[in-house]
């Protein structure tokens, strides 16, 4: 029944899911999906449906925990698993997030290179801009601008149509799994999972939901917001892969640098494909670069029990400010290393995400099945099955990758 009250409730809880979805398509995401299409054609499309399913399940679980307990994921992990577990988890996630931040700056540098700006100029400016943005607190306003700029992704959809790719074959590949045990293929699969279901995003989503103070009765609307967000993310991913596959795979064009990935938009934009692509990539990179370090600083401080908050300063919340500043600074610094291989960096950071995912998922599963915590809202059998399956699959994939890399 759609009535005014329900619509108002939906609008009031709207946000966390949609924002998380757009941040999902960050530099790492664009790079991963582009390479997936350009180097593997349509053969990786089949992974999208299971991944979308897993994404919906994971994010729904996270949103549900946020609404029912009113606490963030870091708080829950600390309160239920103690300091040691929290400490080691935070340490590994910090490492993964550092990698992700490096990827964001890599994206920003690559995009700026398309505009002819040297990375030694663009990266410091970008890093400083991001840092200033958060510290000055006009974050909410800029969030809106970034979201609007995310509409650039629609260009992939248009471009994909313009190329007239073989839709029959695409549909087939989307539903028929084709597997390959080559290390590069495995890495790609882990990377796609990692970039779509990034661990840090789960912490971010739960915090966003908690901040909205959504009541348990209105949970249904929140769930809608999350599901819509997930679908949006993967629709964009789908079209990036298709557009890249259609334009580059056939011709054997490999992506070694952001300029190459821009070819995917040539059908739509012709000579201006690079510019269009650069705008999309720059926007996505900077957007994520302003959210990711902040989210990381927040959840690490929450888990360890340190003061946090952007309204604080170096005296009142030292660990928070140093974490946030440090992640941006080191992330930017790594990119400035001469000849830093930007595209591989972006890819590897997402693979690390994929490898970290099982650990976070296991914690989440233990929390969400805890009756004391969740009351009547513990997981259904299906959700448990899908979540556990994801854990098992990711662990197996990672192990196989490690094994095949060494032998």
């Amino acid at each position: 029944m759609l009535n005014k009250k329900k619509i108002l409730v939906f609008l009031s809880v709207l946000g966390p899911g949609i924002i998380t979805a757009n941040v999902d398509n960050d530099a790492g995401g664009i790079a991963t999906y582009s390479v997936a299409g350009a180097h593997f054609g349509y053969s990786l499309l089949w992974t999208l449906i299971p991944i979308t399913l897993a994404l919906i399940v994971v994010q729904e679980m996270v949103a549900r925990m946020g609404v029912v307990t009113g606490k963030t994921l870091a708080d829950l992990i600390r309160e239920n698993f103690g300091v040691k577990a929290t400490f080691f988890l935070m340490l590994s996630l910090l490492f993964a997030d550092m990698g992700n931040t490096v990827a964001e700056f890599a994206g920003w540098a690559s995009a700026m290179e398309i505009f002819g700006v040297n990375k030694y100029v663009s990266v410091p400016i970008g890093a400083f801009a991001v840092w200033l943005l958060i510290v000055k607190g006009s974050y909410r306003f800029v969030e809106r601008i970034f979201l609007i700029a995310c509409t650039v992704f629609l260009t992939y959809i248009v471009s994909a149509y313009l190329v007239h790719p073989p839709w029959g074959e695409i549909m087939l590949e989307t539903v028929k799994p084709s597997f390959d045990f080559k290390a590069s293929y495995l890495m790609m699969v882990i990377g796609i999972v990692g970039t779509t279901i990034a661990p840090w995003m789960q912490f971010y989503l739960q915090s966003a939901v908690v901040e909205k103070n959504i009541k348990v009765e209105n949970y249904g609307a929140s769930r809608m917001d999350v599901i819509v967000g997930c679908i949006m993310t993967d629709v964009v991913a789908f079209f990036i892969i298709v557009a890249c596959a259609a334009t580059m795979y056939a011709g054997g064009i490999r992506i070694t640098d952001a300029k190459d990935a821009a070819v995917a938009l040539a059908p739509l934009a012709g000579k201006n494909a690079s510019i269009l692509f650069a705008i999309g990539l720059a926007n996505a990179s900077l957007f994520a670069a302003s959210i990711l370090p902040l989210a990381t600083a927040y959840y690490v401080c929450e888990g360890m029990g340190w003061e946090s908050g952007i309204d604080k300063n170096f005296k009142t919340a030292p660990q928070f400010m140093w974490l946030y500043t440090g992640i941006i600074f080191i992330g930017a610094l790594i990119i400035l290393i001469p000849n830093a291989p930007l595209i591989p960096i972006m890819l590897v950071s997402q693979v690390v995400n994929g490898m970290m995912l099982p650990f976070v998922l296991i914690f989440m599963l233990m929390l969400i099945n805890n009756k004391d915590l969740m009351g009547d809202y513990t997981n259904s059998k299906i959700f448990n099955f899908i979540a556990w399956a994801t854990v098992v699959i990711m662990v197996v994939l990672t192990l196989v990758l490690v094994v095949t890399s060494f032998f």
């Binding site: 307990t69 009113g70 606490k71 708080d75 600390r78 309160e79 103690g82 300091v83 040691k84 400490f87 607190g137 908690v210 901040e211 103070n213 009541k215 927040y298 360890m304 029990g305 908050g309 952007i310 309204d311």
Partner: protein, 421 residues
């Protein structure tokens, strides 16, 4: 009589071997049960686990309890398995890693470790460790951490909060320690209390708020963000809500009621005492952002022909009921404002002087419909602590005090805009 040495941190004894009187192993320390006690709760029993079984050993059966050995004055096979009581407070399960309120610091902190110590011959919970040292100890690297910091000439301090300055917020624990602990939180300044209430989850919030007495609850309620206010009011019974609203100054109550859905607000007003309800109704008739919406109806009003001596006597009686006693408003029988007098001049005047002789007239007033920024400019221009609000006929309706104006002049510090991030 159990023998224990000095202070122990609970992390140091977690899962330590527990022996019986012959030196045989019973199991490992799984948890410590404390009784409800003030100011320091005493240890009443310990839980020992061995394989799948859990044993409960009452404190008087403990022989030794220290960092090195824990032993029980009984035979292993005499100790019976027991179910973990859900109504008792267990240290590892219910207190460790949870958030508590540091009453002195007026903020929320997380428990990294807990200290047990001797209080009048009993082993009691004496302090919460919220510092880095506690964190390092839990991770097993306290000594190395100390060495690391001393390399930089920095002494790694303990950060302990004595337990009588701690207020737990876990709903389960709060319920059990309700009676006495609730009072500790009441000693916090309402604004600090409101900060803490904003930061905790809904269940914890309900627990804290429920433990407050009506006066403290009324003060804290006003300091919260409108959305949180509405949530809290929803969670409590209508009778308690209306009791709290009655205790609040009418302008504050009107603020809260104004943010609630109309039906709910009306319900609560109907439950309030007639006089308070009327005051609030009157204030609700005005737009939020006008002088009428900001004002309070509780002010000092005296007739012009009263003497200073009589006025001071009246003032003593009326003072508890008004917002500010710094200004006295001279009002005639019909309610027209004739003049205003400051407390300073009242006290300095001769006792038999008439108020009409020393009042400032004509008084500077603001109309009911004046926008909030006009009110702010007015108060700033004339350097006032409060401004009288009148209608077109110069009948006085209320006063706007400077703190209400300050609220919207400083958006980032204002409580109304308080957000977590």
């Amino acid at each position: 009589m159990p023998f224990f040495a000095g202070e122990i941190f609970v992390s140091e004894v977690y899962r330590k071997l527990v022996l019986d009187q012959t030196g045989e192993e019973i199991g490992r320390l799984k948890d410590i049960i404390i009784g409800v006690g003030e100011p320091f709760p005493a240890v009443t029993a310990i839980l020992v686990s061995s394989g799948k079984e859990t044993f409960l050993v009452p404190w008087d059966q403990i022989n030794l309890f220290n960092r090195r050995v824990i032993s029980v004055a009984a035979r292993a096979h005499d100790i019976l398995p027991a179910a973990i009581p859900s109504t008792d407070i267990l240290i590892y399960r219910d207190l460790l890693d949870k958030q508590i309120v540091d009453i002195n610091g007026a903020k929320l902190v997380r428990v990294n470790d807990l200290e047990l110590g001797d209080v009048k011959g009993k082993l009691c919970l004496v302090a919460a460790d919220i510092g880095l040292r506690g964190l390092l100890r839990r991770l097993g690297v306290e000594k190395r951490g100390e060495a690391f910091f001393s390399f930089f000439n920095h002494k790694l301090q303990h950060r302990l909060i004595a337990w009588h300055y701690v207020q737990t917020i876990e709903p389960k624990v709060s319920r059990l320690t309700l009676t006495v602990s609730g009072q500790k939180v009441s000693s916090l300044h309402p604004a600090d209390l409101a900060d803490i209430i904003s930061d905790v989850s809904q269940k914890e919030r309900t627990a804290i708020f429920g433990s407050l007495d009506v006066d403290t609850a009324a003060e804290a309620l006003h300091e919260l963000e409108p959305r949180v206010q509405a949530d809290i009011i929803d969670d409590m019974s209508k009778e308690r809500a209306s009791d709290i609203l009655e205790r609040m100054p009418p302008d504050e109550a009107a603020d809260v009621l104004g943010d609630l859905p109309e039906a709910k607000a009306q319900e609560l007003i109907n439950l309030m005492e007639k006089e308070e309800a009327e005051d609030v109704q009157e204030l609700l008739e005005h737009e939020d952002d006008t002088a009428g919406g900001l004002m309070t109806t509780e002010y000092l009003a005296f007739p012009p022909d009263m003497t200073v001596e009589e006025a001071i006597r009246e003032l003593r009686l009326e003072a508890p009921n008004v917002e500010t006693i710094y200004y006295l408003y001279i009002v005639d029988l019909e309610g027209h404002i004739n003049g205003v007098l400051s407390l300073k001049h009242l006290i300095l005047a001769m006792p038999q002087t008439l108020l009409s002789d020393i009042m400032i007239t004509p008084p500077k007033t603001i109309p009911l419909e004046a926008g909030k920024h006009i009110v702010a400019e007015f108060i700033s221009k004339y350097n006032l602590l409060a401004a009288p609000v009148v209608d077109d006929n110069l009948i006085m309706h209320g006063i706007v005090t400077v703190d209400d104006v300050l609220d919207f002049l400083l958006p980032t510090a204002s409580r109304k805009k308080r957000r977590k991030r």
